[in-house]
């Protein structure tokens, strides 16, 4: 596949700080690319530079092999779905979707059929004469996406469009958006602070921190093999420990917990363990698995996300362990002892 979007060494400096620092990446045609970062990490600035609303200080944005230097937003082959959607309140659904096409010199019959097709696709055909202010959150969402998609952009930029929706609807729209993208095949560049949105929908995710990309990878790799301490701590839940010493394939945390880790990065000083990587009651024949005992302090019940808060025996370290809600572990109670195992590969040291 060829690259539809190339960002080359892009930086954006403001008076007293830099929002984007030397960012480099490519997006493949037809892909769903997410930029994940906490608020203030520079992801919105990056998106606005791609859209043309802000000027880059250094570097270049290349779309379909063509540099976008000096090309105004209205001439770029990208469209953006804004965080607050920015629907035109004085127009109805159809007029909102038609707004962009009417600016082009196309026959009215062609415009009409394009709009009908798009409204049909996002399931808003029955609402075309409604005022946008009378729609529900999810419907407004779809109007905003339809309004941009009907322009047939090379790339659709989405700036946290699901942020304002309630949780149930957000879960639903996540799947819907992913399916829509697959169906129409437009390249999506999606920015969000919600890791679940990024992981569920994307083909590739870039984790952005302090104006820089920490790691660009598939959602699975990002979760399984974080390359930096920031990614390990940011993506997914995790237990973090500070290391006292790391010698000879064995490590010791500051709280006095000793573990085996053969392929150790020698100057590591942090250890990350995911709650769900811990094996409860492991059998003795597992290879490369460290086994140890913990004391259960409390059970933090949260449905499918339930965790045990435990203390590792013989140390002061607190360790959270995922507790699957099935009959096997129903007899686990607060205050009891538990045998736990961890595979060497699941000990992430940085």
């Amino acid at each position: 596949m060829n690259n539809i979007l190339e960002i080359k060494n892009l930086s954006k400096h403001f008076d007293d700080f830099s929002a984007v620092k030397n960012v480099d990446f490519v997006v493949e045609e037809g892909g769903f690319f997410s930029i994940l970062g906490s608020s203030g990490c520079g992801k919105t600035t990056l998106l606005r530079i791609i859209a043309g609303f802000q000027q880059e200080s250094e570097g270049d944005v290349i779309i379909r092999g063509q540099s976008m230097k000096g090309i105004p937003p209205e001439k770029r082959p990208v469209n953006i779905v804004f965080q607050n959607l920015a629907l035109f309140p004085m127009m109805n659904v159809r007029e909102n979707v038609a707004f962009g096409l009417k600016r082009q010199k196309i026959k009215k019959s062609v415009i009409d059929s394009k709009i009908n097709e798009m409204l049909e696709r996002v399931g808003l055909h029955d609402y075309e004469n409604k005022k946008v202010t009378d729609l529900s959150g999810g419907q407004r969402q779809r109007v905003a996406i339809a309004r941009s998609l009907v322009m047939n952009p090379s790339i659709l930029l989405l700036d946290e469009p699901l942020g304002a929706l309630d949780r149930k609807l957000r879960e639903h729209m996540k799947v819907e958006l992913k399916l829509l993208q697959k169906e129409i095949g437009t390249t999506f560049v999606y920015i969000t602070h919600d890791q679940s949105e990024a992981l569920v929908m994307s083909d590739k995710v870039a984790v952005m921190h302090d104006g820089q990309f920490e790691q660009i990878d598939t959602p699975r790799n990002l979760y399984k093999n974080p390359k930096t301490a920031f990614v390990a701590g940011f993506v997914g839940d995790t237990n973090r420990f500070e290391l006292q010493s790391s010698t000879n394939g064995s490590i010791m945390t500051k709280g006095g917990w000793k573990l085996q880790q053969p392929d150790l990065n020698s100057n590591a000083n942090e250890l990350y363990i995911r709650p769900e990587a811990l094996i409860i009651n492991p059998t003795n024949d597992l290879i490369d698995v460290d086994q140890f005992n913990v004391t259960i302090k409390t059970i933090l019940f949260d449905g499918s996300n339930t965790k045990l808060s435990t203390i590792v025996n013989g140390s002061a370290e607190e360790l959270q362990i995922s507790l699957p809600q099935n009959a096997q572990f129903d007899d686990i109670t607060e205050g009891s002892q538990l045998k736990v195992g961890i595979h060497h590969n699941d000990l992430k040291c940085f």
């Binding site: 859209a51 609303f53 105004p72 937003p73 209205e74 001439k75 469209n79 953006i80 804004f82 965080q83 607050n84 920015a86 035109f88 309140p89 004085m90 707004f99 962009g100 600016r103 082009q104 309004r147 941009s148 322009m151």
Partner: protein, 288 residues
């Protein structure tokens, strides 16, 4: 429970009585009185009887209805001019200027209101007179040899009306524009709209309630104004309020004055109704 209800009734009347008193004694009764007296005229015996004479007088005397039509057209024209002047000011103050500068500039705009209309009208007379600032300046630098006839013309009258009313257009438009999210403009831009399209399809329709409420205020202020037409327009100005003034204070024909007052009220009501219809705005939305 019973006490509670009494308490509610007491506060309810406390709030409603001033409103009703004002409406009845200050609005309804005077207008009813005015309406009744407009239909009265002296008969041959010198008694007051019911009659359409005052209204017939208006339609048969050319000078009256010509003044009426002129007042209406000039008021509409001044309202349109006020929009032309006010919109860029309002846009600059809400979308371009920094918050700090904007509040200072609004303060500057308010100054003419503080000194009162009479003073600003005299100010314009000083500027526009035959030996006024503008003529003196133009003659000194040699562009003209004889003073331009600026004062006591329709031109000077329009300037005066515009100057006293433009602020009442700026403020409502500003409050409309303040709620216009910049991302709407960016979205339109992103969808390929030119500056002109953004202005005519997004910004103007969005601020329409403010524009119309500003236009109504300006129109009513202008059509009912007396000072500017009288002092700046001179003898030729022929503003309808002057006709009413003449009836009440020069010829002491209060009944005809009342009829003319009603005709002016009808005129402004009709124009405002028409403006609301044409712009597709609802009175409750514009009024808020």
């Amino acid at each position: 429970m019973k006490n509670n209800k009494n308490y509610f009734n007491f506060t309810f009347y406390l709030l409603v009585v001033p409103v009703l008193t004002w409406l009845i004694f200050m609005i309804v009764i005077p207008h009813a009185e005015l309406l009744i007296s407009s239909f009265k005229a002296e008969d041959d015996m010198g008694d007051m009887v019911f009659s359409f004479a005052n209204y017939i007088e208006f339609f048969t005397q050319q000078i009256y209805w010509l003044t009426f039509v002129k007042t209406a057209t000039y008021s509409i024209a001044v309202t349109l001019l006020a929009f032309d002047v006010a919109f860029p000011i309002a846009f600059y103050l809400t979308k371009v200027a920094s918050k700090k500068n904007a509040s200072f500039l609004i303060l500057l705009l308010l100054i003419p209101l503080w000194v009162g209309e009479l003073v600003t009208v005299y100010g314009w007379m000083v500027l526009l007179g035959d030996h006024g600032v503008i003529n003196h300046f133009l003659m000194t630098i040699g562009i003209i040899n004889e003073p331009l006839n600026l004062l006591y013309t329709n031109f000077s009258m329009v300037i005066g009306l515009l100057y006293m009313s433009v602020l009442f257009m700026v403020i409502p438009i500003m409050s409309s524009l303040a709620s216009l999210d910049d991302s709407l403009i960016e979205a339109a831009c992103d969808l390929g709209a030119s500056k002109w399209i953004i202005f005519t399809r997004i910004i103007i329709p969005y601020s329409m309630p403010g524009i119309i409420s500003g236009a109504i205020i300006v129109f009513m202020l202008v059509i009912g104004d007396y000072l500017a037409p009288n002092l700046l327009g001179g003898k030729h100005s022929l503003w309808f309020t002057e006709q009413i003034y003449n009836n009440f204070l020069t010829t002491f024909n209060w009944n005809e004055g009342a009829a003319f007052g009603f005709l002016l009220l009808m005129l402004s009501s009709c124009v405002i109704w028409l403006a609301l219809k044409l712009s597709g705005q609802k009175l409750d939305k514009v009024g808020s």
